[in-house]
Symmetry: C2
Subunit: 450 residues, 2 copies
């Protein structure tokens, strides 16, 4: 038989128990925060009709994995192309257009993998399969919804143990207004946003080059950058900015958005020193229409943003006659994990097992099984040793797997309905009646803070 | 702009909050049982190299969804074909062959979706994307591991609230022995197993036809079916069966397997009346080599099995020089959900939100946000009403979403730092100081058993 080399597709990963237990702790924390803010879970299929996915973002269209149909020809006759989702926002927009009886507002969270045919760059945390953690609010144009998302970002980052992060607020309308003031129309807003979105990565000089390539002339570029720089550190002096922008209705609407989301976020308990209004924040996605926001760890500048989001009032309309206002945000699970690892706050353990029931001899197997059943009934997480191995090997397994307690019932103990309980951390061992095991284990685990 | 019809790919499903909350409760119960038995989580990518997936089961090969490469040609140059996994067992075998430093035994559970290009039959619970809940033990040939899986099936079904289910044990070696006794060789074991696997669905007469088509002659068929029928209700009388089969070493090994797994399952606490030895149980998969087992709800005969599993000592070897003994089992999440629905035990609720902070007037928004922040800080799951709507609409939302408590702070209440707390189930309303809200809500939720 030909041997197949066991390997994973480039850009995808296996998550072995130790790493996965750490990732799940992150997901649980995020989920708990989302639920506290009144979001309900949603799951959509990995496979969507291709036409559902395309046309929302030129850049993303190139990254879609299409799926071949009709391998088993008899089972697949339809011709419509199918593909893997590349994000969770487009499927959400489809869902909201598809089901008439969803509550309004519809507050949903979704934590699922997405796939992009991108060049994998594991060091930059870029994979072909990765998990997004989205929270969105649909059915209201109230900026309170945007403020809730900012407060939720704050809640999640706090709960994950991050300190000294920064949540930045901006508005697409504000940026459109700057373009309008400078060029007389909002037409080139998309190009402007795409260019300044890269500011952190490429710097002002490169941004100028990119703006020139997009058709802005020298004067326009100077004026735009000056306006941006003058609006930096916006929030201490809204009045000054207002004067600067008063000739553009769009810019004034954007400023109002930023001010409102900022103020209401504070009312929702966000600490002022973690919040800033940043007009240079543009976010890459084409479909944003109002407030936009993101979070960064300022002392991990190479990490990029841990979360990002914004209002996208036009997306649902691509699937339905009537539009539905929408705003949302997303945490990247891999970014969070990478940041926690850098800060030495990522917790991983090879196992969650609390007790190993060792196999001292073959005659004791039945008794071992009964002890394991007893302990599991009491709610403990218990493993049984399966094979005829020396105790040394069994202890070494418990050690490697960080299983804190081992139960051993040799012939002498069994004769008196007793068992030994060994604490692997302290090395201490006690012999006690089997009926007292549950109580003793509870005490040992409490003493180990488990 | 052309509107895209919002729809899901046939055979796949959206899980909206109400259904998903019920499904998650099932997954949590299964997961808790798996962890109690000492299994650790594993996740593998949805996309695998095609060669990893093929060649384990002829039937499954036809159902594989292949993925197109090189859409963005610059990012995808390799030529190796890729595809979506169709089960969780083959990726597990790959993982065990791929990583040298896994613990032995390696006890892993995995709850992830799989994809099959099958004809969707939603009424029979057959979908193209569905979730499997697997638990496997690799690295030991001890039958204790198989008994643990039988006990784990029992634990899961109990924890899910099923009663009067049946766990059936058989052995591929036993069945191979019957074939050996009858035909002089074990060669046609696969064909025999595939035929009797369908017994429940098609009956004895059709099984005979199928066996004849597989090359068994009339005498052989009669002898095989007689042996099977004589071994029915095997466990009360192992001795009789032993005499019947003593001329086949293979059959005797199989009988020993069944006896051992049966006895050790009882030691692990499985109730005898829920356990049976069933030689007609064959399981469809080609790669089983030893004990096999499944669970059925006897009073839901059309449901098929809720879980199934068995030993597959040869699978890892397809990826590595040295084999690794393995045994495992799987619950189908959709089957469980369907069974619970039929028994009216599937719990679903549109929302987990506990408190809605209503919007009485625009002037109260800031105060509402502060109240929401206060309640969330206390750990409650809280929604804020975003828009200027009448109270009637807000109450109707709380009602539809089954949110049990609504907080209202009108101008009079606000003037005295008070708020109203309305219990939506009883209709009762109390006015109290904002500082006392947390305590009052805790009491109301406790009284509602939430």
């Amino acid at each position: 038989m030909r041997k197949i080399t066991p390997r994973t597709f480039r850009g995808t990963r296996d998550f072995l128990p130790a790493e996965l237990l750490g990732r799940r702790a992150i997901v649980r924390t995020i989920e708990e925060a989302y639920r506290k803010y009144g979001f309900q879970p949603l799951e959509t299929p990995a496979i969507e009709y291709l036409e559902v996915l395309t046309g929302k973002s030129e850049e993303n269209d190139k990254l879609i994995y299409e799926i071949k149909r009709a391998r088993g020809a008899q089972t697949e006759t339809a011709e419509t192309a199918i593909a893997l989702r590349y994000d969770l926002t487009v499927p959400l927009a489809r869902v909201v257009a598809q089901y008439g009886d969803l509550p309004r507002p519809f507050k949903r969270y979704q934590i699922q993998p997405v796939w992009r045919a991108d060049r994998p760059q594991p060091r930059q945390g870029r994979y072909r399969e990765f998990v997004q953690c989205d929270a969105d609010i649909l059915g209201t144009d109230s900026l309170l919804a945007d403020a809730e998302l900012v407060a939720l970002m704050h809640e999640v980052l706090h709960a994950l143990g991050f300190e000294g992060f920064q949540i930045r607020i901006s508005s697409r309308k504000f940026l459109a207004g700057l373009v309008e003031l400078t060029t007389g129309s909002t037409e080139k807003t998309g190009a402007f946003c795409r260019a300044i979105d890269k500011l952190d990565k490429i710097g002002w000089d490169e941004v100028k080059v990119e703006l020139a390539e997009s058709g802005f002339n020298g004067n326009e570029i100077e004026q735009l950058l000056q306006s941006l720089q003058e609006s930096l550190g916006l929030h201490p002096d809204f009045e000054k900015t207002e004067k600067l922008l008063s000739k553009s209705v769009t810019a004034m609407m954007g400023l109002k958005e930023i001010q409102t989301v900022y103020r209401e976020s504070l009312d929702l308990g966000v600490e002022a020193e973690l919040l800033s209004c940043e007009p240079t924040l543009a976010r890459g996605l084409d479909y944003y229409t109002g407030p936009i926001f993101e979070s960064v760890i300022t002392y991990l500048p190479h990490m990029g943003s841990l979360s990002g989001g914004g209002r996208y009032d036009g997306l649902v309309e691509t699937f339905s006659k009537s539009g539905v206002p929408a705003t949302g945000m997303s945490f990247g699970l891999d970014r969070i994990q990478a940041a926690l690892i850098q800060l030495e706050k990522f917790k991983s353990a090879p196992s969650e097992t609390q007790v190993l029931v060792a196999r001292f001899d073959n005659e004791g197997v039945s008794e071992n099984l009964r002890i394991a059943a007893l302990l599991r009934k009491a709610g403990f997480r218990v493993e049984i040793w399966y094979d005829e191995d020396r105790m040394k090997k069994q202890f070494s397994y418990a050690d490697k797997q960080q299983i804190p307690l081992v139960v051993i019932a040799g012939p002498e103990e069994r004769a008196q309905q007793q068992a030994s309980l060994k604490n692997m951390r302290t090395g201490e061992q006690q012999v006690l009646h089997v009926e007292l095991l549950v109580q003793a284990i509870r005490k040992e685990l409490a003493s180990l803070d488990l």
